[in-house]
């Protein structure tokens, strides 16, 4: 069976160079980087070497990189840490409506300290407009966080302009770069952001390592205390192997990015062009002009996302969906809903994230398999049946309320 791995947003293969860089620290070099004796020497050198490599990837100074364990942790540290350190100045935080949950959820928990969140709406492409951001900022706003690119719909934000808006109000600006790093060149100085999140996985590094860029002089309340690691910004013995792997992966990615991006862009273009020739009733989502390479998001109308994923998996193809049925939380993607897609269409979402190793064969295999899978599922679909009878597939009978979300939640327990 031919395979096609289109879920790099979930996990990406480890670069061989990264694996090699990790190996000593899974073996004899078990020392703690803080140790004074010689067992600490190589691990310490590895962590600091990796810091320089990771910094170089995003044009940061090595000292401005804080290592964490995941992009989720970096996001938590950024938004909670920045907000808590500025709580004397105000309690409002402005974010886009399409942030990752690891930005939205920690901000919600800050509610107990009296913080409140303002969500800036996005347009139908998933773009945050600088004037909308400016309009959302209040007198007691102390932090703005808008992601660099969105993994579900591929849209790249005008981060530089958005950061400038925040700075006009003297407010620090954080951006989650998880979906951007490893796909487009990132320059944190050029973007003029105060904090920037990115994980090792975005550059084919290991799970278990990520970075938070923190512009010099930015005050941050640490979340994990009780040690002086990472310049008192994150306590705890470093995961030396993962960090070493991150450094090596960052260096390789920096040198190969132009070539990888070009190949991913070309493959995605094939799908944008060829899929509509093979399949009716599909809607590509996200911006077509400002988009990360190798990303395809599409609504395949009248079929549900999880059913598509299972059928694709039977053909060796790995993809993702924003449908509520495919989500552990049983909630439809807040990103698609924020872009104004109705629930039914969000249910039909399919997300492909390619990687440096994706090939034309993968794409051809996908283009061959999705149409028959869709046809089979549409034959079962009451919505498609309505369409065929000339009715409005999405019509709701008067008096019909949706108890779906509620039902989902209760059954989850």
């Amino acid at each position: 069976m031919r395979f096609g791995y289109f879920d790099h947003a979930a996990a990406a293969p480890l670069l061989p160079e990264a694996k090699e860089a990790m190996m000593p620290f899974l073996g004899d070099e078990f020392g703690n980087p803080v140790s004074l004796h010689h067992f600490g020497d190589k691990p310490r050198a590895a962590v600091e070497g990796a810091r320089a490599q990771v910094a170089a990837l995003v044009n940061s100074r090595p000292d401005d990189i804080v290592f964490t364990a995941s992009a989720s942790e970096s996001n938590n540290l950024a938004v909670k840490g920045l907000a808590l350190s500025r709580k004397a100045k105000g309690r409002n935080i402005v974010v886009s409506a399409i942030e990752h949950v690891s930005v939205l959820e920690p901000l919600k928990s800050l509610g107990v300290y009296g913080f409140d969140i303002t969500e800036v709406p996005v347009d139908a492409d998933g773009t945050v407009h600088p004037d909308k951001l400016a309009a959302a900022i209040k007198t007691d706003t102390i932090l703005v966080s808008v992601m660099h690119a969105n993994y579900e719909v591929g849209t790249i934000q005008k981060v530089k302009e958005l950061a400038a808006v925040a700075h006009r109000f003297r407010i620090p600006f954080h951006s989650d770069g998880t979906a951007a790093v490893g796909r487009i060149p990132v320059d944190v100085v050029g973007l003029d952001v105060d904090a920037y999140t990115f994980p090792a996985m975005s550059v084919y590094g290991p799970k278990g390592a990520a970075a938070l860029y923190l512009k010099r002089g930015t005050r941050l309340q640490p979340l994990i205390e009780g040690g002086f690691q990472e310049k008192n910004r994150r306590a705890g013995t470093e995961d030396v192997a993962a960090i070493a792997g991150f450094g090596s992966a960052a260096a390789v990615t920096k040198s190969r990015l132009p070539e990888w991006s070009e190949s991913m862009t070309r493959l995605a273009q094939r799908i944008f062009k060829e899929l509509p020739e093979k399949l009716e009733h599909i809607i590509f989502t996200g911006s077509m002009s400002s988009r990360i390479p190798g990303h395809v998001s599409v609504v395949v109308e009248f079929v549900e996302g999880e059913a598509m994923l299972l059928s694709l998996d039977d053909e060796g193809i790995a993809a993702a969906s924003g449908s509520s049925c495919s989500a552990k939380t049983l909630k439809a993607s807040h990103v698609l809903l924020a872009m104004g897609l109705p629930h039914t269409k969000a249910q039909s979402s399919l997300v492909l994230t390619m990687g440096k190793d994706s090939t034309d064969e993968d794409v051809s295999h996908f283009l061959d398999k999705l149409p028959p899978i869709t046809r089979r599922l549409r034959q079962m679909s009451p919505l498609y049946a309505r369409l065929q009878k000339g009715e409005d597939p999405y019509a709701v009978k008067p008096g019909e309320a949706c108890e779906d979300e509620q039902e989902h939640e209760t059954d989850e327990r």
Binding site: E304, E306, L310, C325, L330, A332, A385, K389, D404
Partner: protein, 153 residues
Amino acid sequence: MYSEKVMEHFRNPRNVGEIENADGVGEIGNPTCGDMMTFYVKIENGILTDVKFKTFGCGAAIAVSSMVSEMAKGKTIEEAMKISNADVAKELGGLPPNKLHCSNLGADALHKAIEQHLAKKPATGEKGCHCPFCDAPVEGSSICAPCKNQGRK
């Protein structure tokens, strides 16, 4: 994630389709909720002689629909009404906990279809012409309104 049985029914669902002039149609969920299931039943002498479905939902929802249709076919109305969500999940070799609500959809849609049939049943005893397909009373035309409605629904 799913049992082999669930995957088998998902890959080869039984009784997919619609029944023309069905004796009962039951629809659960609606497009705005994201999940939707429609069951069609054909009932002769109190027995479900045919059961078909159309489902817009996850793998579990499709497998559940298929299993419910299989379990209900050939059963009496009484037996079919007794098919519970738990029975369906059990027959499928279990469902992941967060997917149990999908089994509710299946049994509920079946029951709704049967109830629709029962609701129009009392009319059978009345005087006048009756639809040859579903025994509903007919005025003027030879095809009854409910059947016609369901035929094109």
